[in-house]
Symmetry: C2
């Protein structure tokens, strides 16, 4: 019920090397992380660069010194989570020491942990509608990840480890619908540990909620 995590390392998710001088002094990394949070809180399209600036305590011009456009800021904000998710799923799906069912279980568990660690970034990714080139590129990368998951589920079904009474595509969507829904309510400080959440998701997904 608690497989090996295999989550990605934390490259500095919160407040890296701020200080030194008295006030703002943002480095690019911190600016991206904070902007990501603001985009998540109000929605990307619902957030003006003025709002981002105000929330960060600086002006728009200061932001445009670090990034060349609002779209680039979105691209950078999304990239972290996408990359972490992709490499985790990629890693799990190549472990030849496990059955497909166990690979899938590990992939679910690892995805939950990454989704929590990078929850702002992943949340933005999951909300993208394809309204710009950046958004369409993000959707395309997400589609590639989904493809790997679908292959895992198909293999687990072929193996006899996963129910075959419903279409594989439907099973996959529901499984990762549950996993991804974490972004809807998870907030920093949520009073249940990431490991417990990952265990709960894995248990619910594979065994159901009946006692």
């Amino acid at each position: 019920m608690s497989p090996a995590p295999a989550a990605a390392p934390a490259p500095g998710a919160d407040s890296p090397k701020r200080g030194r001088r008295g006030r703002p002094g943002y480095d690019r990394e911190t600016l991206i992380n904070r902007a990501t949070e603001v985009f998540v809180a109000r929605g990307y399209d619902g957030t003006s660069m003025d709002t981002v600036a105000r929330e960060l305590g600086i002006t728009k011009s200061a932001i445009y010194h670090h990034v060349k456009s609002k779209e680039e800021l979105l691209r950078l904000a999304i990239a972290r989570g996408t990359d972490a998710l992709d490499s985790a799923v990629e890693a799990e799906s190549h472990r030849t020491d496990l059955t497909a069912l166990e690979q899938l279980r590990h992939a679910v568990h690892a995805s939950v942990l990454i989704l929590i660690e990078y929850h702002h970034s992943v949340t933005l990714l999951l909300r993208v509608r394809g309204n710009s080139e950046v958004e369409r590129a993000a959707l395309e990368q997400r589609r590639r990840i989904d493809e790997k998951i679908r292959a895992l589920v198909a293999a687990a079904i072929a193996e006899g480890g996963v129910r075959a009474d419903f279409p594989p595509g439907l099973i996959t969507r529901l499984l990762f619908g549950m996993v991804n829904s974490i972004t809807e309510w998870y907030r920093t400080g949520y009073p249940v540990s990431p490991e417990t959440i990952a265990d709960a998701v894995t248990a619910m997904a594979f065994s159901g909620l009946e006692a």
Copy 2:
């Protein structure tokens, strides 16, 4: 595995009484339904009234003849799904002939069917961020529905029908996270019937995906 649906009736979800004259001739109902689809496709904040008008083949002014603001259009777009969901959950949670576990199973099954029938409207509801009065009111109504569900899950746990090895709030969020995730991929014409989808969700949620 296939409980009594109890879904709401269809008051005319697609194209009511269009025609008569050659071109547009929208009635208010049709306009709202079509606008809802456009909002879902691009996101509410990412959709200008000019875009809505273009998609509908009329001008902004024609829209403002039917509704007084973009916000009111959102309110009307969201209302249908919210009302249907609320009354379905309300109805199931008052059936004294069923155990709490069975009430929950029926509520899940009914929610899936409503979520599919009103999927554009419900999708908008689930994406609301609280950036305006209309959005905050929608969030509040949604919170009331969630409260009823949480009570059902708590009762089912107390009854011994649902697993108690994880926090009830977490179980509830994951369960309806899976249910609600249908809005992420369901499209009119999806090649699996609503009933089969509802059965699959119920089976996955209560028994898990292991064979």
